[in-house]
Symmetry: C2
Subunit: 555 residues, 2 copies
C-alpha cells in the first residue's frame, strides 16, 4: 500500500471526538470540515504547561533515505495513548511547494501518519496562504512608499532586503527585476521571492505568544534603509495592524488526528535551515495545556533542529523538554560509514560501526543541554539482527536507553518499547535545559559556543562582508538576539561532503541576515536556497483527481 492508500483506508473520526480526548469544550472548536478544527489561544494554561512532559524528537545527520522523525513522533504518541497516557503530538505544517516537486509529504509515513493527509498537504486551514498574504502586503506597502510622492519615507530601493513569498517551488521567482513598465509601474529594482516557509512572517507566527505579540513582531521587521542610511521597519509603514488582521486565524493551532485517533496539533512550518524549523510556541503550549505528554519534533539533525529548539524556542517560551528522542536508522548509519545509497540495504556490520560516531556526535551535543536522551532506531525490513544488536550494545555502553521502533509498519503498537523508555526517562528528568549561550554573549561568542558544544568544531570565521554586517547589526542594537545558524544539514560541519563525525573544522560565515521581527540573527554558512525549483519530472505531472474525488499521484 502507498502512503496515500493507507491514509485513505482509515475513516477519520469526527474532530469533536478527538477534541473530547483533550477535554476541549465543543464550543471552542472552529471547524474546517469534520476532521479539522482551529482551537483558540485561551485554551493555553500556563500552569499545566509547567507540569507537562514535553518530549523533543530529533535525529542524527539526515541522509537521502530519511530518518523518520515525524513517523517516530506519531508512532510514539499512539503508543503512549495505548499505554493509557494522555498524549498529543505537536508538529509542523507541511509546505505545499514540494508536494508538486519531489514526491513526499511531511505528515509521517506508513501506519504512523496524521490525517486527513491530502488536506494537510494541500491548503489545510489556510495558514500558509495567510502568511503569504501578510508577507506580500508588506511588500506592496514598501513598493507603494518607494513610488509615493507625498508620503515617501525616502527608502533607498537598492537596500530593500524584504522579499515577497509564495508557497510554490518556482525557480523563476528566485531573482527578478520588479516594478517595470514605466512610471506607473513603480521604481525598478532587483528583488525576488522566498518560499513561504522561509518567510520571516512564518518564523514570527511560530515564536509569537499571542496576537498582540505577533502584531508587535510584524512591526519590528527590518525592511531596508533610507537614502541617509536610517533603518526602516514595517511599523514605519504602518503595516503591522493589517498584517495581524490577515493572521488573526492563522495564529490559532490546528487540531487533527493520527491514523489511530490520537490528537495531533499541526501548526506553523518554518524552514529548518534559515529559521527555527519547529512548530509554533502557541501550538506546543496548547499541546502541553491539554495533555500529559506532548511529543514534538524539530527539523533536520540535532545540530540544527534541537539546538534552535532549545536556544531559540524553549528560551523564548520558557519551556523545557523532559526527554529528547534521538532518531537513527541502521541504513543512515551505514551511509555515514561510507556506503552508497544502493549498498545500505545490505547487511554491513563494518560500515555500521564506522557510522556510529555520527550518532555519538549527536548524543554528545545533546548531553550539553542536560536533558535525558533516548535513542530510537526507526526499523526497516532490510535491518538485520546483527546490525540491531550492534547499535543496541553501543548505546547501552554509553548508558543511553535505546528502543527499536516499528511505527511505519505497525503504528503505535510498534512503538510501545520506545514509549516505555520515554516515560521512564521523563520521570527521571528533574531539571530545566542548559542553554548553549547567554543572550548577552557577543554574537560571535554565541556562534563559537554552538560550534564547539553542538557541532564539535573549532572556530567560527567571518568573511569581511559578514564582519561589516555584524558591526552594523550590533550598532543597530541587535547584539543581544539569539543566533539561528543557516548551515548545511548534511554534516556537522559547513561542508556537506563531510559525513559521519567530522573533527577539527571551522565554520565559515559568508554573510548575515537579520530577522528583527522574529528576533534572531542568521549567520549564513555557504549558500542557502530560499526558493527551490521543480525537478526535471515534477510530481505535479502525475497528480490528478477523478470524478469521484479520488486523488492519484499524491505520495
Amino acid at each position: 500500500m502507498t502512503e496515500i492508500q493507507i491514509a485513505q483506508s482509515v475513516t477519520p473520526k469526527h474532530i469533536r471526538e478527538i477534541a473530547a480526548k483533550l477535554n476541549i469544550p465543543e464550543e471552542k472548536l472552529e471547524y474546517y470540515g469534520n476532521d479539522k478544527a482551529k482551537i483558540p489561544l485561551d485554551l493555553i494554561d500556563e500552569e499545566k504547561v509547567k507540569s507537562n512532559n514535553l518530549i523533543l524528537v530529533t535525529a542524527i545527520t539526515p541522509t537521502p533515505p530519511g530518518e523518520g522523525k515525524t513517523t517516530t513522533s506519531i508512532g510514539l504518541v499512539d503508543a503512549l495513548n495505548i499505554s493509557n497516557k494522555k498524549a498529543a503530538a505537536v508538529i509542523r505544517e507541511p509546505s505545499l511547494g514540494p508536494v508538486f516537486g519531489i514526491k513526499g509529504g511531511a505528515a509521517g509515513g506508513g501506519w504512523s501518519q496524521v490525517i486527513p493527509m491530502v488536506d494537510i498537504n494541500l491548503h489545510f486551514t489556510g495558514d500558509f496562504h495567510a502568511i503569504e498574504k501578510a508577507n506580500n502586503l508588506l511588500s506592496a506597502l514598501i513598493e507603494n512608499n518607494i513610488q509615493s510622492k507625498s508620503r515617501s519615507l525616502g527608502i533607498d530601493h537598492r537596500t530593500v532586503t524584504w522579499k515577497r513569498c509564495m508557497d510554490m517551488n518556482d525557480r523563476g521567482l528566485r531573482t527578478i527585476v520588479a516594478a517595470l513598465g514605466g512610471k506607473a509601474g513603480g521604481v525598478p529594482r532587483e528583488t525576488g521571492f522566498n518560499i513561504t516557509a522561509a518567510s520571516e512572517v512564518m518564523a514570527i507566527l511560530c515564536l509569537a505568544t499571542d496576537l498582540e505579540d505577533l502584531k508587535e513582531r510584524c512591526g519590528n521587521i527590518y525592511v531596508g534603509d533610507t537614502w541617509e542610511g536610517k533603518p526602516i521597519f514595517a511599523k514605519d509603514l504602518n503595516a503591522e495592524g493589517a498584517m495581524a488582521v490577515l493572521l488573526k486565524d492563522a495564529i490559532k493551532p490546528n487540531l487533527v488526528q493520527t491514523l489511530e485517533g490520537s490528537p495531533a496539533i499541526i501548526h506553523g512550518g518554518p524552514f529548518a535551515n534559515i529559521a527555527q524549523g519547529t512548530n509554533s510556541i502557541v501550538a506546543t503550549k496548547m499541546g502541553m495545556s491539554l495533555s500529559d505528554y506532548t511529543i514534538t519534533e524539530a527539523g533536520f539533525g540535532s545540530d540544527l533542529g534541537a539546538e534552535k529548539f532549545m536556544n531559540i524556542k524553549c528560551r523564548a517560551a520558557g519551556i523545557s523538554p523532559k526527554t529528547i528522542v534521538l532518531v537513527a536508522t541502521i541504513r543512515a548509519l551505514k551511509y555515514h560509514g561510507g556506503k552508497s545509497l544502493k549498498e545500505i540495504t545490505q547487511e554491513d556490520v563494518e560500515a555500521l560501526v564506522k557510522g556510529l560516531p555520527n550518532l555519538d556526535g549527536h548524543i554528545e551535543g545533546l548531553k550539553s543541554f542536560g536533558i535525558p536522551i533516548v535513542v530510537s532506531i526507526n526499523a526497516f525490513s532490510s535491518d538485520t539482527e546483527a546490525e540491531m544488536q550492534i547499535v543496541k550494545e553501543h548505546c547501552e555502553k554509553l548508558g543511553i536507553p535505546v528502543a527499536l521502533s516499528y511505527g511505519w509498519e505497525k503504528g503505535g503498537k510498534g512503538c510501545l518499547d520506545l514509549a516505555e523508555k520515554v516515560i521512564q526517562s521523563a520521570n527521571s528528568c528533574t531539571d530545566q535545559f542548559y542553554p548553549t549561550y547567554n543572550l548577552n554573549d557577543s554574537i560571535h561568542a554565541k556562534m563559537e559556543k554552538i560550534c564547539q558544544t553542538v557541532y564539535g568544531g573549532k572556530k567560527v570565521i567571518l568573511s569581511d562582508l559578514a564582519k561589516s554586517q555584524l558591526r552594523k547589526y550590533e550598532a543597530m542594537g541587535f547584539g543581544n538576539l539569539p543566533v539561528c545558524t543557516a548551515k548545511t544539514e548534511k554534516s556537522f560541519s559547513d561542508d556537506q561532503k563531510r559525513l559521519g563525525r567530522p573533527k577539527h573544522f571551522d565554520i565559515q560565515i559568508r554573510e548575515f541576515e537579520i530577522a528583527t521581527g522574529a528576533g534572531f540573527i542568521i549567520p549564513i554558512a555557504g549558500k542557502m536556497l530560499r526558493m527551490p525549483g521543480l525537478p526535471a519530472t515534477p510530481a505535479a505531472e502525475k497528480i490528478t483527481i477523478d470524478k469521484t474525488g479520488t486523488i492519484e499521484g499524491l505520495f
Copy 2:
C-alpha cells in the same frame, strides 16, 4: 454606524440554521467555523433549476458614487423572504486586494449586507488562494519546462502569455523580468502578475459545470507557442490534474447569510472587464436547486455585466432569468446629466432629465434579450420627491415597472415594493432569453451585434494587431467562442468620458486575448489594468486588530 459596525452588531445564526431553510441535510455541510460552510455539487438538481425564478440584478452605467447592485440584491432576497417566498442570493466573492487599497468591500452595504463580513472580505474559505496556487503551479511548470534539458517542449519563452497571479494590489508585480540569477534561475523573460480575480483560472472555476469539466478546461489553457509556432496548452505540460486537485474544494459554493438571516451563496469573483464578472455557474445552479427565487448580479453596467451574463454564462449553463432588475440612482442619473460629484446631492430636475437617456439605453439593450425588466431606484437621503416622481413617470411611460428601494437604510423591509414587482414580473415571463449572437457567427460579427444591439454604437474597428491576432485564433479553431469584451465600464462607448447615452460611435479594438480554457475570446478596447496598485494612502495603514480581536479600519 459604519458598515463594519452594522455587520458586527448582528450575531450570525449558526450556518446549519441557514442550511435548514434551504433543506440542506446537515451532513452535507462542510463547516468553516460556525457561520460559513461549503456545500457539495451533488445538491444541484437540474429539474429544480428549470423551474426556478432566476432574477438578474444589473445597473445603469456606473458612476463614482456607486449604484448598489449588491445592496439591492441582498435587500431583495430579504424582502422576498419576508414575503414568504423561498429566496436565496447568489453573488461574487470579494477580492482581498482592494481591501487594503481603497476602502470598500463587495458584500453589500448598510442593513443589506452578507455576514460574517470580515471573513468574507479576507480569506473566506480560501477559494481565491486555491485559484492563485493553481494558476501559479502552471507558471512554475512552464518555467520548469523552459529550463528543462531532457523534457523540453521547445517553448519559445518570448511567446508565453500566461502570467502568475496574486490577490494583492501590487503595482510592482505588474511587469517583471523573471528567472534571473544565472543558469540555475531559469531562462530570463519579461512577464508579470495579474490580480487573482483577473486570472483565467478564476474565469474557468466560474464557468465549469463540475470538477471533471474544470480539469478539462484547465488543460485547455493556452500558454504560448513553441519555436516552430505550434501552440502549447496546459495539458501539454500535464498540468490539469494537479490544478484540479488544488481546486477540489474551491469549486464547492460557499453558504453564508444576510444580516436578516436569508441564505446567501457566495462563490467565485471574476473581473467584470476582462472576464465574465459574475459568480460561478455551479453557485447559481445551487441557488436555483435549493430555492424558488434566486437573486444574482453581474458586474458593472448592463452593457458589460448583463450582456456577458446572458451570452456567456446563461448560454453555457442552459439557464435563463425570469426578470432583470435594473438598478439606478437619482445621483448617478444627475451625474450622467452633466453634474459633478459635488453637485449631485442637490436637487436638480433638469440634470436628472438630461441623464435619463442613460437609463433608456440600458432598458433598450436589455429589451433585446426578451426578458421582463424592473427598474429599482436605490434611494438616498438626498433624493427629493420631485426627482423620484420624474423617474417613476419616465419608466411608467416606457411601460417598465419601477420601485423605490431602501435596502441600505431598512434592509428587507425597504425592498418590499421591489419584491412585489419582481414576483409579478417573473410570473409574466414565459420565454427563454434571446442571445445577441450565434456562436457560429464570425468573431467580428459577434462583436458588431453586441455593439449595435447592446451598446447602441455603429461599427467595431480592429487595429492591425487585432486583425492578425484574430486570424491566428480563428486558424487555431477558436472562431466559435463567445466574446468577452474588455471595455471601459464608464460609458456605453469605448471612451470613458462619454457619459449619458452616446450615439454614433465605433468601438476600436486594440488587441485580442484568448482564454481557451474558460472558453471565450477577449477583444480589448483601450487599456485594461489587470494588476491594480495601492493608492497614496492605503487603507492597510489604518487597519488593525486589538487584544480582544476587535478589528478597526476595515470599511
